[in-house]
C-alpha cells in the first residue's frame, strides 16, 4: 500500500494555516482592539494575556510558509511572487508589532507611546495584508507555463478588500473572545461589547464574501450548486453543513454573550473561522494556486514528502503537546491587572 503523500501534505499545510489563522488571529485581534482600550493598564493586561504565547502562535505561519516551500515548491514559487506586495506589507507589519511586545515594556514615555501605536497599527496592517493575500489567492492567479505571469496589483479588487475587512473583523472577534475568557473586571465587560460589535460585522461580511465568492469562478459556483445552467440542489445540500456550522458559531457567540459565558464567545469565534475556512477551501480544492495549478502538480517528489512525513509524524504530536502545556500553564485570568478597575 502506498500513501497518497501529496494529499496528506495538502492536509498538513491546510491544518497549519488554519492553526495559524485562529492562534495568531486572536493575538492580532488583541492588537486590533488596542486603540479601544480605555487606559494604559487595560492595554498592559491585554498584552500580558498574549505575551507568553504569541511567538508560538506566529511559528505556525513559518510552518505554513516553510511547509509550502518544502512540500509544494511550485505553488510556493508562484503564490508568493503573485502576492508580493501584500506579503511584504504583512511581514513588515509583523516585524513592527512583534518587537513591540518587548519594546513597549522598555520604552519611556515617548517610546512606549510609539510602540503602543506600532503594536496596534502593526496588528491591523498584518491582518489587512493577510486578508488581501487571502482574497487575491482565492480569486485566482495568472500563470503561464507554471510561472506567475500577472501584474503587481492583480490581488487588489473589491473582493479582496471585502475579504480583508472581513478578516480584520474576524480577528477582532477572536481577540475580544480571548479577552472575555482571560480578563476580568472592566476590561472583561468592554470585551463583551467589542465581541458583540465584531460578531455583527463578521456575520455581514461573511455573508457578503460567501455570495461574492460564488461569482469568482465557475468551479466555485458549481460546487455550491450553480453550474451555469441551473441550480443543483444536491450539491448545495452536500455542503450545507458548512454554512450551518458558521451559523452555529455565531449563535454560540450570541448566546454566550447573552448568558455572560466566559468561554463560549471565543469558542464560537473558532467555529465561525472553521466554517469560513472550510467554505473557501471546498471552492478551490484541488487547486493550490487557484485555478491554474493543482496540489499534485505542485508537489515535491515522494521521497522528500515521505522523509518529512516521518518527521511530522514524530514531531507534530510533541509540538502540539508542549503547545497545549504552555497554554495550560498560563491558563486563568491575567493576574497583573489586580489593581485595575
Amino acid at each position: 500500500m502506498s500513501l497518497d503523500l501529496p494529499l496528506i501534505w495538502a492536509g498538513i499545510i491546510a491544518v497549519a494555516v488554519l492553526l495559524y489563522v485562529v492562534l495568531d488571529g486572536f493575538d492580532l485581534g488583541v492588537g486590533i482592539l488596542f486603540p479601544f482600550a480605555p487606559d494604559p493598564r487595560a492595554r498592559d493586561a491585554m498584552v500580558q494575556s498574549v505575551a507568553p504565547v504569541w511567538d508560538g502562535n506566529e511559528t505556525w505561519l513559518v510552518l505554513g510558509g516553510g511547509g509550502l516551500f518544502a512540500a509544494f515548491p511550485r505553488a510556493y514559487a508562484v503564490i508568493l511572487p503573485a502576492l508580493y506586495l501584500p506579503i511584504m506589507a504583512m511581514l513588515l507589519a509583523l516585524v513592527l508589532r512583534g518587537v513591540a511586545f518587548e519594546f513597549r515594556a522598555r520604552g519611556r514615555a515617548r517610546g512606549k507611546a510609539f510602540w503602543t501605536a506600532a503594536f496596534a497599527g502593526g496588528s491591523l496592517c498584518a491582518a489587512l495584508s493577510q486578508g488581501l493575500v487571502l482574497g487575491g489567492f482565492i480569486q485566482g492567479l495568472t500563470l503561464t507555463d507554471g510561472a506567475f505571469a500577472g501584474g503587481p496589483f492583480d490581488w487588489l479588487t473589491p473582493y479582496s478588500v471585502m475579504v480583508a475587512v472581513g478578516l480584520v473583523a474576524g480577528y477582532a472577534l477572536l481577540g475580544a473572545g480571548w479577552l472575555i475568557w482571560r480578563t476580568e473586571g472592566e476590561l472583561h465587560d468592554l470585551a463583551r461589547r467589542w465581541a458583540g460589535t465584531a460578531a455583527g460585522a463578521v456575520a455581514m461580511l461573511l455573508a457578503g464574501v460567501s455570495v461574492a465568492t460564488l461569482f469568482l469562478h465557475p468551479q466555485v459556483a458549481a460546487r455550491w450548486g450553480f453550474d451555469g445552467h441551473g441550480f443543483v440542489g444536491a450539491n448545495l445540500a452536500r455542503l450545507a453543513p458548512i454554512p450551518l456550522l458558521g451559523a452555529a458559531g455565531l449563535a454560540t457567540i450570541g448566546l454566550g454573550l447573552a448568558r455572560r459565558s466566559h468561554v463560549a464567545p471565543f469558542a464560537g469565534g473558532l467555529i465561525v473561522f472553521l466554517s469560513g475556512y472550510l467554505g473557501l477551501a471546498v471552492g478551490f480544492f484541488p487547486y493550490i494556486a487557484p485555478y491554474a495549478m493543482t496540489f499534485r502538480e505542485a508537489a515535491n517528489p515522494d521521497n522528500a514528502l515521505a522523509l518529512m512525513l516521518v518527521g511530522v509524524a514524530v514531531l507534530l504530536p510533541v509540538i502540539l503537546g508542549y503547545t497545549v502545556f504552555v497554554y495550560w500553564l498560563f491558563r486563568g485570568k491575567v493576574t497583573g491587572d489586580a489593581g485595575y478597575h
Binding site: L80, V95, R106, M308, V334
Partner: protein
C-alpha cells in the same frame, strides 16, 4: 529578465539576511550562557549567578524577539524574490528547512514563554529545563540552516531529473554535505565568540564605573575564559574551512586570496587592488610563498588562480578579498585579547586592569563584524552561483518587477533602521544600568507592562513554588 529587479532582489536579500544574522549569532551563545548561569545558580545558590541570569535574560528577550521577526521574513522572502531557486532547490533542501521549523522554532518559541513569564508558574527545575530547551533549540536551528546553506555551497547527494529539476538520492549526503561539519563548527564558535565579546564588553563597561561590582566581575571572568579558549579554536576551524574551500570551491578560494594565476608558491597578499577587467591586481603588498602555505599547508603547493575559470564563473574579487581580511583581522584581535585576559587572570586579575577593560569594551561589537564579514566571504564567494555549479543567481530570481522590489526594499530599510536603533538603544540602556542585585525584590504594583520580561525578571525563580 529584469536586471534591476535582480539587482534589487540581491540587495534586499543581502540586507535582510545580514540584519537577521546579527541576532542569532548573539542569541545562540547567549541562550547557552543563560543555561550555564541558571545551572550554576541552582547548583551553588550563589546569588551572583541569579543576578546575572535575570540581567542577561532581559537583553536576551529583546534580541531574541528581533531575531524571530526578522527570521519570519526570510521564510517568505525565498519565494517572493527567489521563486526559481525555491522551486529548484526545494526537492533537496526543502525537508531541511521543514525540519528546522519542526525541531527548533516551535521548541524555542514555546519554551521562551516559560523562560520569560514562567517564574511564578513553574518550579526551578522546570524553569531550568525551559532555558535548556531554548538553548538547545537555537543550536538545532543553526544545525539545519547551516546544513541547507552548506548544501548550496557544496551540493551532494542529488541527481538531475529528466525534466531538468533536482531530486535527492541520498538524504544523509544532503544533510551532511562535504563542507557542513566544519562550517557548523565555525558558525557555532562564532556565535559563542560574539556572545563572549558582548558579555565581556558590558561587564567591562560596568567595572570601569563600578570597580567592585561582583556580578560584573564574575561575568567578565567567564567571558574572558570563553574568549581565551574559543578564539584559538576558531582559528583552527577557520583554517580547516579555508583548506576545504580550496578543494571544494577553488574559485572562491582564488577570490579570497586574489590569486589570478595558477602557480606554485603563491604569495600572500596583505593588501591588493584586484581588477576584474584587467584580470590582475593593480598593486599588491605581498609576502612570497605564504599564500600557498596558508591555503594548502605547503609553501611550494600549486594553488589555482582565477584565470583558470571563465570570466563569467568568477565571484567579485575585491569584496570577498577584503571581507576575508576583515574577518581574519578581527579573529586575530580576539585571540590577542583572550591571551591578554588569560595572562592577566594569572596575575592581578582581569578586572583590575583598566587598559584591558577599555580594550574589552572596544572589542564588544567585533564579533558581529566578523560574523557578517564571514558570511559575505561565504555567500559572495559562491557567486555567480546560488547553488554552486548548479544554479546561477541570475537564473534564480522571481518574475517580479523592479518597482515592487524597490517598494519592499525601502520598507525594510526604514523598518529595520527603526527597530535596530531602538533595540540597540534599549539594550545599551540596560547594559548601562548594569546587573542590579536585589532584582529578586517583589515587583512594584504594576508600574509598567505586567507582561514584560522586566516584570517577569523581578520575580524570583529560585523561590518560586
Amino acid at each position: 529578465m529584469d536586471v534591476y529587479a535582480l539587482l534589487l532582489s540581491r540587495l534586499q536579500f543581502a540586507f535582510t539576511i545580514a540584519f537577521h544574522i546579527i541576532f542569532p549569532s548573539f542569541t545562540i551563545g547567549l541562550a547557552s550562557y543563560l543555561a550555564v548561569l541558571e545551572g550554576l545558580w541552582l547548583a551553588s545558590r550563589n546569588p551572583v549567578f541569579k543576578t546575572l541570569y535575570l540581567f542577561w535574560l532581559k537583553i536576551f528577550a529583546i534580541s531574541f524577539g528581533m531575531g524571530v521577526v526578522t527570521g519570519v521574513v526570510m521564510s517568505y522572502e525565498l519565494g517572493n524574490n527567489w521563486s526559481v531557486f525555491s522551486a529548484t532547490a526545494s526537492p533537496v533542501i526543502g525537508p531541511l528547512l521543514a525540519f528546522e521549523v519542526l525541531t527548533a522554532f516551535f521548541l524555542e518559541a514555546s519554551f521562551l514563554g516559560i523562560m520569560l513569564f514562567g517564574w511564578r508558574k513553574v518550579g526551578p527545575g522546570l524553569h531550568f529545563t525551559a532555558t535548556l530547551l531554548v538553548a538547545i533549540g537555537t543550536l538545532i536551528s543553526a544545525f539545519w540552516i547551516i546544513s541547507a546553506n552548506s548544501w548550496m555551497q557544496v551540493p551532494a547527494g542529488f541527481a538531475r531529473t529528466a525534466g531538468g529539476g533536482l531530486i535527492a538520492t541520498d538524504w544523509w549526503a544532503v544533510i551532511v554535505s562535504p563542507s557542513f561539519p566544519t562550517r557548523l563548527a565555525h558558525m557555532t564558535l562564532a556565535a559563542y565568540l560574539t556572545t563572549a565579546l558582548v558579555v565581556g564588553a558590558a561587564s567591562a563597561w560596568r567595572l570601569l564605573k563600578e570597580p567592585d561590582d561582583d556580578a560584573s566581575t564574575t561575568a567578565l571572568r567567564m567571558a574572558v575564559g570563553m574568549l581565551a579558549i574559543v578564539a584559538p579554536l576558531q582559528l583552527i576551524a577557520g583554517d580547516v574551512s579555508g583548506k576545504e574551500v580550496r578543494r571544494m570551491q577553488p574559485a572562491k578560494l582564488a577570490a579570497v586570496e586574489a590569486f589570478w594565476e595558477t602557480r606554485t608558491a603563491q604569495p600572500f597578499h596583505i593588501l591588493a587592488w584586484p581588477d576584474m577587467a584587467a584580470e590582475t591586481n593593480r598593486w599588491e603588498l605581498s609576502i612570497p610563498g605564504l599564500g600557498s602555505w596558508i591555503t594548502a599547508g605547503d609553501a611550494r603547493a600549486e594553488v589555482t588562480g582565477l584565470k583558470a575559470f571563465a570570466a563569467k564563473d568568477r565571484p567579485p574579487v575585491a569584496i570577498v578579498f577584503y571581507a576575508f581580511r576583515l574577518m581574519v583581522g578581527m579573529g586575530v584581535a580576539m585571540i590577542g585579547l583572550g591571551a591578554w585576559g588569560a595572562w592577566l587572570s594569572l596575575r592581578e586579575g582581569v578586572e583590575r586592569s583598566r587598559p584591558f577593560l577599555r580594550a574589552m569594551v572596544a572589542m564588544g561589537p567585533t564579533g558581529f563584524v566578523a560574523v557578517i564579514a564571514g558570511w559575505i566571504v561565504a555567500e559572495v564567494g559562491r557567486q555567480p552561483y546560488v547553488i554552486y555549479g548548479v544554479l546561477r543567481t541570475a537564473d534564480a530570481v522571481s518574475p517580479v518587477g523592479a518597482g515592487q522590489v524597490s517598494a519592499s526594499l525601502i520598507g525594510f530599510l526604514i523598518v529595520y533602521a527603526v527597530i535596530f536603533s531602538v533595540g540597540a538603544l534599549y539594550i545599551l540602556r540596560l547594559i548601562g544600568e548594569g546587573p542590579v542585585e536585589g532584582a529578586e525584590a517583589p515587583p512594584p504594583p504594576l508600574p509598567r507592562a505586567p507582561g514584560s520580561a522586566l516584570a517577569a525578571a523581578q520575580q524570583d525563580p529560585g523561590g518560586a513554588p
